[in-house]
Symmetry: C2
Subunit: 217 residues, 2 copies
Amino acid sequence: MSNKQLSKDGCSLNALSNLISELSKLPGLGERSAERLAFHILKMQGSARQSIADSIISLRDIKLCQKCFNLVGNIDEPFCDICSDDSRERSVICVVEQIEDLWRIEKTDVYKGLYHVLHGVISPLDGKGPEDITLEQLINRVKSCSPKEIILSTNPTVEGDNTALYIQKELKKPFIENGLIKITRLGRGVPVGSSIEYLNKAILISALMERKESPNF
Amino acid sequence: MSNKQLSKDGCSLNALSNLISELSKLPGLGERSAERLAFHILKMQGSARQSIADSIISLRDIKLCQKCFNLVGNIDEPFCDICSDDSRERSVICVVEQIEDLWRIEKTDVYKGLYHVLHGVISPLDGKGPEDITLEQLINRVKSCSPKEIILSTNPTVEGDNTALYIQKELKKPFIENGLIKITRLGRGVPVGSSIEYLNKAILISALMERKESPNF
């Protein structure tokens, strides 16, 4: 009995099969894990199930910050919590591909500047050009607020690197006009806590190329 | 910025934080994977998001078969697709812990008999006794339909084994009265496709104890 057979003519089984098929479309969930999750949700209290459904539905109310394109905390405000926070260092902008990246960096509790979320990368193979990301908005922002530093924190992938390079070129003009101090990139090399034995060639090559003089003791 | 901070005062961020916290309660999903899923759902089309929510909500319409406690295909019917299927071997009942187990066995396409879903196991440590599973219903069913074989397919765990033993004892009376032929258990031993090198002691001990004479060629 396949899922298809299980659900034939069945309203109630259909509900479960539908959920399994919906869940198995999500990243990292195969059919087996989708099944496991669906059965778990099936066994939950009705109210717990409803609250998952509600939280999915209420995602439609989400809004992006007009300045940095992060998620806005209070939908009545035009700007996000970070852009509205006066204690943040306003002269540094960290440019990231996605909101997830912003969250990850925020969780380090080390960076205290502002952000700019590109919402994608330039990737000609996927038909994504500079107009598909928030690059124009970044340039306008740099022109108007003249930050001291822009940290290009795109992913260390071909697309991420190319996007960073493109942004750097585009920023050159407002950069010079406004007396920006620097455009930086995240350091790259061997990830802290890893074993060299298991790292791939590309990581090791970049770590060798980016090697630094050891501090004197 | 923790998730908590992220969501302070925020209606829209609250939605995302809620979803992450709901998802991270599901089995096999840690906070990181819950975040990844939530962001993926956030980026989906509104209609796709709605259809996940709908399929979760419609699980409330699910109904169990009055005979075997499997899910009922059509909620207007009292019995499930398997119990209503005349081509199934009606003299064999496979007793499983959960509906998931039934699905897994059905997918082998080898078993053609009926089922009985216990919806749990006897587990005194968790405060679960015989009255918490569908044992009484199984006994009544055996009394009334006198099957030829009952396959006790509980999990090969302490609780599963104890439950099977308990059921076997309870069934003895209707078993003898009704001229049942046999009560069987699933074969146990080394799982097909595994490497002996990686199997644990308990599996190897059971495989040694359940060893069979090699067929002659």
